[in-house]
């Protein structure tokens, strides 16, 4: 299924700059969470640093826009610019991963039906924003991308699932280029729901916003690549990682670094055991959430971004493989095998 990664773009607690996530990981200082009770749950939250929706996108047509959509539209603009601006929009697909769209907008809108003088006195301009595919639609509209337009409600594993989807779209000839990633926003609603949903043993990470986007194409030599993705239900992370490596044709000894997010859903020890069992103790270990917080559906995207950014400054990475695994609180696991550029 090999896919080339032609460009990346992101906006997180580390801001929008290329390399920002890797610099934060290398420095090892976690970003300061914002505590604003009762709006924020105990671990605090992380905003996309410096992201001002109106300043980035103007005020025309953005008054009702949620921040997750704003981040996605903005990251897609940066992605297209990073790709040189010549991506044929009619042959490009958009895939946006999410947990459940803009939960804050959904719940505010619905709550109004209980509190307004009449149940239908909701804000009509917010209605389309309550629908999960608003972000993907806005990315297409504002950048003129007319290929398949997909919203993938994959939760923690969304970006790994999006890579599988992207490979199928390209192989089936439905798109030549796929603009693919995930976005999540800070709202008090989402932050509290995420906090309450955490299993016992989950790390005390701030609930974070962030968006990460990848420009994927059919395999082109010399570029960073997604070699394989595997999924497994029932929490079978080690099996999932083994399958992904087999599909990629990569031996465990070729793996330079391994990222994981198990800590976010209380699976840190299980993940460590799985990585050790499959990969041994050789690979450099990366936990992107220590730099960007718990970005929910964007988690795997930030793990891939962190690996690519770290590889760019680590001579040991050149031409080797990197893996990233993910496991959610429902037992769904995914593994992605990447090839670092030489």
């Amino acid at each position: 299924m090999e896919l080339s990664i032609a460009a990346t773009a992101a906006w997180s607690a580390q801001g929008p700059g290329p390399g920002a996530v890797a610099r934060a990981l290398t420095a090892g200082t976690p970003p300061a969470a914002r505590h604003d009770p009762p709006s924020t749950p105990p671990p605090g939250v992380l905003d996309a640093h410096g992201f001002d929706l109106a300043a980035e996108l103007g005020t025309k047509g953005t008054r009702s826009m949620d921040r997750a959509t704003g981040l996605a539209v903005c990251a897609t603009a940066r992605l297209l610019a990073a790709s040189g601006g010549d991506v044929p929009r009619d042959r490009s697909a958009v895939i946006i991963g999410t947990t459940n769209g803009s939960l804050g907008t959904i719940l505010d809108f619905t709550e109004t039906t209980y509190t307004a003088p009449k149940p239908y006195l909701v804000n009509p301009a917010r209605f389309p924003v309550t629908v999960m595919n608003y972000a993907a639609g806005q990315c297409a509209i504002r950048h003129g991308v007319t290929g398949p337009n997909i919203t993938l409600a994959g939760g923690r594993n969304a970006v790994a699932l999006a890579f599988i989807y992207a490979a199928r779209l390209i192989r089936a000839g439905r798109a030549d280029d796929v603009l693919c990633g995930a976005t999540e926003e800070y709202t008090s609603r989402r932050a509290w729901l995420e906090w309450r949903a955490r299993p016992p043993g989950a790390v005390h990470a701030p609930v974070a916003e962030g968006c990460v986007m990848f420009h994927l194409t059919a395999a082109r030599p010399g570029r960073a690549a997604v070699l394989a993705v595997a999924t497994a239900t029932g929490g079978r992370l080690a099996e999932c990682l083994t399958t992904a490596l087999r599909r990629a044709g990569v031996e465990p000894g070729e793996v330079w670094a391994a990222a994981g997010n198990g800590a976010l859903d209380g699976c840190h020890d299980g993940e460590s055991r799985a990585h050790r069992a499959v990969l041994g103790t050789g690979p450099r270990r990366v936990e992107a959430h220590t730099a960007v917080g718990d970005t929910s559906a964007a988690s795997v995207g930030f793990q891939v971004l962190a690996l690519l950014e770290l590889a760019a400054t680590d001579p040991a990475a050149a031409g080797r493989a990197a893996v990233t695994t993910s496991i959610d609180r429902h037992g769904l696991a995914t593994a992605v095998v990447l090839r670092c550029p030489r």
Binding site: K118, G137, L152, A153, T233
Partner: protein, 404 residues
């Protein structure tokens, strides 16, 4: 696509307000039964009119062992069980097979989200279980767990009202390329106070009945349910002597990239052409169009304009089953695909009911009120969505095909 496998529909599981299971649904959809009734699943105090197409009497516990999931997931489980039974496939036989389980949905566990908002309005705290239950990724995960599909590839596609067709398209590509021999795909949706209120506010809930293509149409009725299909490689289906109901011959998806909610006839026409090209057919080979056909003034005019652009002055019959089952959002095009399979099997066109007088602005033969026999070789199934999304599926009668 070189080396592509042919893909067939061997099972279908409709869970709708006019029938649960193939025989029940086929009888009613071909007969033109209306599923319209007053809303009971949420309090409608304050709305001047509040009919919908709800599943009354659906018992999640009858379909889902153990902990009862959300309403949409329960619909999906029921539909998946029915689809596998229709395909004469024992789930146990798929326990070790790589099976994409692809569920399209507009609003995921919409009733769970309604409950979260109601709790918030009442100042009640939310527990851990409620904070986990709404996650839409649980739709395919619940199906996989209920059926023991250990090697499922779970996918939730949230492309609003085109999600059902998108899910079928995903499974089609997976099987066509040889990634899987069998896939389960379709859509699931539960009615919600949110969607009802939103559509009511923007003036698109029908005041009396859903009348697609009618001069007096006033909008949609919200609906719910699920439709899951078993897609299978032709080789796998033939080897096990499976019933073959239809062949999936093409799919197309694109985005108008123009307006957040309004459809666009240029974009839809382009999407129809993509699907035809994918199937290697021309418009003259399509015998029936199952329209998105919501019954809003703008959808029906735009959709018929797009159809005319591709098909010329004399398109095939264009029907809307939303006249019977309302708009089941993310499940709508999946249920419509099952109706298309039933039309092919019966060689009979389902009617567009509640029809009084066709709107000259979207003049087509919508087979008003009474269905009729017809030779149906290929059915085109349209799905449109907010965000300018279009997804078109093409199904062919198995007798039209040569399996060699």
């Amino acid at each position: 696509m070189s080396g592509a496998r042919r893909v067939v529909v061997t099972g279908a599981g409709p869970v709708t307000c006019i029938g649960v299971g193939r025989a029940d649904f086929a009888r009613n959809v071909l007969a033109g039964t209306s599923g319209q009734r007053p809303v009971t699943s949420f309090d409608t105090t304050g709305f001047a009119h509040a009919d919908a197409c709800e599943l009354s009497g659906f018992d999640p516990a009858a379909w889902c062992g153990g902990e009862t999931p959300g309403r949409a997931a329960a619909f999906a489980v029921a539909a998946a069980r029915l689809a596998l039974a229709d395909a004469r496939l024992d789930p146990a036989a798929l326990a070790r097979a790589h099976v994409p389980v692809v569920v399209g949905t507009c609003d995921g566990e919409a009733a769970e989200l309604d409950a979260l908002a109601a709790a918030s309005a009442a100042g009640e705290a939310v527990g851990t279980a409620a904070a986990r239950r709404y996650a839409p990724i649980r739709l395919p995960l619940t199906v996989a767990a209920a059926l023991g599909l250990r090697e499922a590839e779970p996918v939730t596609i949230g492309t609003a009202c085109a999600a059902g067709n998108y899910a079928i398209g995903y499974a089609f590509d997976a099987v066509r390329a040889g990634d899987a021999e069998v896939a389960l795909c379709g859509g699931a949706e539960a009615v919600s106070r949110r969607m009802f209120s939103g559509f009511y506010r923007v003036g698109t809930i029908a005041s009396d009945a859903c009348r697609p293509f009618d001069a007096g149409r006033s909008g949609i009725l919200t609906g719910e349910g699920a439709g899951m299909l078993v897609l299978e490689s032709l080789g796998h289906a033939l080897a096990r002597g499976a019933p073959i109901h239809a062949e999936v011959i093409g799919f197309g998806a694109n985005c108008d990239a123009r307006h957040p909610v309004a459809p666009d006839s240029d974009g839809l026409a382009a999407c129809i052409r993509l699907a035809h090209a994918d199937a290697g057919i021309g418009p003259g080979q399509v015998d029936l169009i199952s329209a998105h056909g919501t019954g809003t003034p703008v959808n029906d005019v735009t959709e018929v304009a797009a159809i005319r652009r591709v098909f010329g002055a004399s398109p095939p019959p264009v029907i809307s089953i939303k006249s019977m089952i309302g708009h089941a959002m993310g499940a709508a095009s999946a249920i419509a695909a099952i109706a298309a399979v039933d039309s092919i099997g019966a060689q009979f066109i389902p009617p567009t009911i509640n029809h009084i007088a066709t709107d000259p602005a979207c003049a087509i033969d919508c087979v008003p009120n009474t269905g009729r026999p017809a030779r149906i070789g290929v059915v085109q199934n349209n799905g449109l969505a907010f965000g300018g999304n279009n997804a078109v599926l093409l199904l062919r009668r198995p007798e039209e095909a040569s399996w060699n």
